[in-house]
């Protein structure tokens, strides 16, 4: 049982290590930093599973529908 609890603890410790050290370290890479800063600024949930979970989709949908229905420039 003690060994099992140790394994459990180590497993969760690895998860925490990934969250607090590996993840933030990868964030500093030049190739990903601009995207990461952007996601942070806009508070986008990149892990959302479906379109109803993310505000950007609602915005995109309403903009697109109104663009299709009220397309400017038809008189020009």
């Amino acid at each position: 049982m003690v060994r099992k609890v140790i394994n459990l603890t180590i497993s969760f410790a690895i998860c925490l290590g990934f969250m607090f050290y590996v993840g933030p370290w990868v964030d500093t890479f030049e190739s990903v930093k601009p995207l990461i800063d952007f996601i942070e600024e806009r508070d986008i949930d990149a892990g959302a599973l479906y379109y109803t979970e993310i505000e950007e989709f609602s915005e995109a949908n309403i903009n697109m529908e109104n663009t299709m229905d009220y397309t400017p420039g038809k008189n020009f």
Partner: protein, 580 residues
Amino acid sequence: MSKEKEGSVVYDSGQSKLSDLWKKEDYWAIWLGSILLIVGIMIFFPKGDQAVMTKIQDANAILTTEAARAPFKTIAWHNAVSAKKKLKATSSSIGKTIKSFTSKTKGWKSNPIDAFYFSASAAKAKNEAAMPKYEAAKAALASALNTAKQTEAKAADAGFSNEQLNNDAKAAITSWRTAGKKASSAKKKIGNKPYNLLPSLIGFMLFMAVFFGIGKAVMGESIVKFIKGFTFVFLIAILAYVAAGNATMKHYGIGYAAWAILFGLIVSNTIGTPKWVAPAVQTEYYIKTGLVLLGAEILFGKILSIGVPGIFVAWIVTPIVLVTTYLVGQKIIKVPSKTLNMTVSADMSVCGVSAAIAVASACRAKKEELTLAVGLSLVFTSIMMILMPAFIKAVNMPHVLGGAWMGGTIDATGAVAAAGAFLSDQALYVAATIKMIQNVLIGVIAFCVALYWVAKVDNIEGQKVGKMEIWNRFPKFVIGFIFASIVFSAIYASIGKDLAYVIIDHGAIRGLSKIGRGWFFCLAFASIGLATNFRELRSYFKGGKPLILYVFGQSLNLCLTLGMAYVMFYLVFPEITASI
């Protein structure tokens, strides 16, 4: 239900009985899901009153006038759309109460306690720290609006006939919109409020325990044992939400699904899932109920959001990629399990985890197969989310084309939003719309897969299956899933897009059914982890065939989607592209 074995095929040859309606899990998923949908309708539909209709009509009148007045989207045009965007049934007091009671844990950066508790003094300090940035963003917005108004007025004075003045006005309006988004994000950061989620989490846990426990009791199991075990499964789900709420994990799209499986796996493969938890480890029960709710979010009217090009990119290319990948998986790569093949193919070609869940349930895939599909999707989503916008920028690809390409290929919906928004609003709108149309395709695909599996796959070769037998074997929850979709799609079509946005999109769906669906999926993934042996999971990855299948399918997807998007948006319907 009796099982018969002939050759290497095991199939159910039970008969349907009236008592199935209250004894079978599939039907309970339909009843529980339907209850929530009906409650959502009763609460939110009345919010679409005359006052709301008047505001919609006023906004549409402005849109009609502005669309006729100028060759581009004017400031007034955008303001009219913004006015429509603010009309949400979820903004009502009951909507806010439901959101508060069902709230999952909050986002956090360095202190996980922030996921549950945030003091008034901490909220005040955070708001004060963010205030300078908000003031600067607000000032920038005011300046951008001023410039946009002046350039638009100049273009209007020239009767909108001067191309240079028109282009200057469009550019200034785009800058104003970008400044608006920055100001809006900055405003959210000064709006922090104190919270303590523990009482509501405990209350909601008890509610869900009873909600699901009633079904279990009627099906002949102990509600007390179920509720006892449910507390542990709920705890894993909470931990998953906490991990997913970490700012860094949010960046890479590592969401609750992955964490719930991982934490469940850790428990089951170290100390072992306690025996008293077993009655509540009910993956299929939670997933099926969640899928019935997901059905209501599958609104067929949305497939026309971006016109015919969207249908071709999302509804023609996707099934071609799905079927081709499945056939290659069967005949060439020789993936040992058909259900694994189908789940990975759907996950890659349609829309990631949500498609994997629906198809895995429809073809009765093993939970290890779903886990593998989720893992593959997660890894490649993170890679594509970073690489694709960089590539699109590097080759100067037009953003409408780039957006359609990303929307049709990046698995995870959230990652599509991140990648699209990173490029531009135009890319975001196209990417998000294409992905949303693909999301709607889940309903059709799940239904077809379920039908194909019961009629063809689960048979001895050459055996003909009668209609009654197909009905007996058909996963009944799929009917609830499709029925919810048909009902909500019909209501959506009959009341019109504008009112549907208020009472369905931002009413019954986002106000209740989406909330329930998210929690139920999280419980399901926690259950998967708690019931999975890591050694068994490893065996499904033998030979790397699922990875090869995924890479082949995604490569095909990338080529076909780009080709179709180019043909549709630039050769066949250039006028639609010009208007975006």
